[in-house]
């Protein structure tokens, strides 16, 4: 187990290097001049431009720039934005908001999705089953910006059930509730369907028949024996989804004016702020890799047939 984790952590290094280099190269290749508009209507003075280019290593070729960046990163320095703000400060401010939103969305999708999946799975073909099947299909087919916009307009503006947007400063749980529901709604559909399919399949399995033959109650045979097996793929899905949500939700964040990493990356790309983009993405890649590792370890705990030796 220990060697497995060590091996996985070591594997993260090339992945992290590759991912950051790709992002770095893409930002490098973006057209436009970071100095444009820096000094108002006039072009910047030559001395300022030189100092600026020197500070951000803009005159070096790509590999040298990347090398210097990684060197700083290894020492925990994420660099500065072109406005002179530390990227690490920016991330420290925004990451908790994204994490909070992701956690809320995951909770919503897990609880509602699994309950819906179980209820429909044990009464396959019933009214509730068809209702959930159709409504999840609708949710899956509608793009998130439509759901987000509609939810904001009806639930927020028109009926006043939820705050319309997140006000500046701290994003409270209450303010993040509607965005979390919107963000979770898509995954609720997947979780519900995944749970249902697996449960229906496992209810026909030999070990559930054994459980009945052992004189267990129906509740125990289904709720423990069948469900325990059915939830293995569901929890894996939820884990990976959590990793993806921690990367920020650009659309949802911009609809609800949430100061998270998704919006931050989006704005940084538009202003060609390489340091911010690469810094944020590096953290995202790292978080994603760690979440992946945790999901894989969890998978081994849930299913003893999978060994990590």
């Amino acid at each position: 187990m220990g060697t497995y984790i060590l091996r996985r952590v070591l594997q993260m290094i090339p992945v992290l290097l590759g991912a950051t280099f790709l992002i770095f190269a893409m930002v490098f290749a973006l057209p436009g001049d970071p100095l444009a508009g820096k000094c108002g209507e006039r072009p910047c003075p030559a001395a300022y431009a030189a100092a600026f280019e020197e500070k951000y290593n803009l005159n070096d070729p790509l590999p040298i720039q990347y090398g210097k960046y990684i060197g700083n990163l290894a020492q925990g320095d994420f660099g500065e934005t072109y406005n002179g703000i530390k990227v690490s400060e920016q991330l420290k401010e925004r990451y908790p908001v994204t994490a909070k939103l992701a956690l809320m969305a995951i909770l919503i999708e897990t609880i509602i999705g699994i309950i819906a999946g179980v209820l429909t799975g044990i009464r396959k073909g019933g009214f509730l089953d068809n209702l959930v099947l159709v409504s999840t299909l609708v949710v899956i087919s509608i793009p998130i910006f439509v759901i987000g916009g509609l939810a904001q307009y009806f639930l927020g503006v028109k009926w006043g059930l939820f705050p319309v947007t997140v006000t500046s400063g701290e994003a409270t749980v209450y303010q993040l509730l509607l965005p979390a529901i919107v963000l979770g709604s898509l995954s609720v559909a997947y979780v519900a369907r995944l749970t249902r399919t697996n449960l229906v399949e496992n209810l026909r399995s030999d070990y559930v028949r054994t459980a009945i033959a052992k004189g267990l109650t129906k509740r125990r045979a289904i709720g423990l024996h069948a469900l325990r097996n059915s939830l293995i793929p569901v929890i894996t899905f939820i884990g990976f989804d959590f990793g993806a949500l921690l990367g920020g939700a650009i659309v949802t964040e911009s609809i609800f004016n949430i100061p998270g990493v998704g919006g931050y990356i989006f704005r940084s790309i538009r202003s060609r702020d390489g340091a911010s983009v690469v810094g944020a993405v590096t953290v995202l890649v790292l978080v994603y890799l760690v979440v992946n590792l945790i999901v894989d370890l969890l998978y081994g705990l849930l299913d003893p047939r999978i060994s990590h030796d």
């Binding site: 030999d206 070990y207 033959a213 004189g215 267990l216 024996h225 097996n229 849930l302 003893p304």
Partner: protein, 345 residues
């Protein structure tokens, strides 16, 4: 080998006392499967009984209804599609089919228990084997976790699993096929049931392991004086363990006899065909006798005797009249118009 020691068993407020050692009576049982393609009659008026300490083998090909019979007794048929339009399954005089579902659930395990063909899929892959055995004590006896696990270790030792105490926390996939079937047996005998149904317990195992498992079952049956129903298609497996044999074909009992009588002189052409199809060492190099044709489609069982299209002795009467199961010799039942001729042949 029947003993008449009558033990009274009680589960909660219910008491089960076999009368004259009679544990189980299946009477005129029908099971149908209602599918989109039509109704398949899997069991067609089957009757038999089982006494304390007795081994009854139910023999038949795939699709003959032997497993469905076992599942009907156990109450683990999927209903729907399965329907039991008529018949009785009496355990110690009480009809399991009309029993309150909760009361019947409580008979599964302490009264009637079952082991399955493929122990790998019949055991839950995500729980340790000891936990799965202990579950019997926790559910039915309300025992606490550590006591139940201690019982599980004892049972694993009883079914001769080496290093039982160290392996109680291991998972089914970490055992060999034979050891897994021993664990399945430990689960089934945990609460000392009066009736044990073994549905093809050795089919998924290799030959040497088959013999060990059968020996273990025989030993446990004698030790605990259980009534054993052994479902199999393997005549070789039956010979050593069973006292009586019931042969099934297309959902009907076609022959019922003491094991020695049946092997010596089968009273039904189907049984004779089965016996002739056993490979024998003294007939090396000869073509293996086989019963030609296939069992009938259960949605369209032919009129008359269901075996007539495959029977070498079939006459006109076989194609029109269904032969009833009748006594053809003392203690011997056969459903063949020409049973007497078959016995003498």
């Amino acid at each position: 080998m029947t003993t008449q020691s009558t033990k009274t068993r009680s589960q909660g407020e219910f008491t089960y006392t076999p009368e004259d050692g009679r544990l189980l009576e299946v009477e005129d049982l029908y099971v149908e499967f209602h599918t989109a393609d039509g109704v398949a009659t899997a069991i067609n008026g089957v009757s038999f009984e089982l006494n304390q300490g007795e081994s009854l083998a139910i023999l038949g090909e795939s699709g003959s209804g032997k497993s469905v019979t076992a599942q009907a007794i156990m109450g683990i048929l999927d209903m729907p599609p399965a329907v039991i339009p008529q018949g009785h399954i009496r355990y110690c005089g009480q009809d399991l089919l009309t029993m309150d579902p909760e009361q019947r659930r409580k008979t599964r395990g302490p009264e009637v228990s079952m082991i399955f063909q493929d122990a790998l899929s019949a055991l839950n892959p995500v729980f340790p084997v000891g936990w799965q055995i202990a579950e019997m004590f926790r559910t039915h006896r309300g025992m606490n976790k550590s006591d139940a696990l201690e019982q599980a270790v004892r049972l694993m030792e009883r079914v001769q699993i080496p290093g039982a105490r160290d392996r109680v926390k291991a998972y089914p996939h970490q055992f060999s096929g034979g050891m897994r079937q021993r664990i399945m047996i430990a689960v089934a005998i945990a609460l000392d049931p009066a009736v044990l149904i073994a549905d093809e317990p050795t089919t998924a195992l290799d030959v040497t392991v088959q013999a060990q498992i059968m020996a273990l079952l025989e030993e446990l049956q004698e030790e605990r004086q259980m009534g054993l129903i052994l479902i199999t298609h393997d005549l070789g497996v039956v010979a050593d363990v069973a006292d009586r044999i019931a042969v099934m074909y297309a959902g009907r009992l076609v022959e019922k006899a003491e094991v020695t009588d049946l092997y010596a002189n089968p009273a039904h052409p189907y049984t004779r065909g089965l016996l002739e199809s056993i490979p024998r060492l003294d007939q090396k190099g000869q073509t293996l006798a086989a019963i030609g044709g296939l069992p009938p489609n259960l949605m369209r069982i032919p009129p008359g005797c269901p075996f007539n299209p495959r029977c070498r002795m079939a006459q006109d009467v076989c194609r029109t009249d269904l032969p009833p199961l009748r006594e053809v010799a003392p203690g011997r039942l056969s459903a063949c118009h020409f049973a007497e001729e078959v016995i003498d042949a």
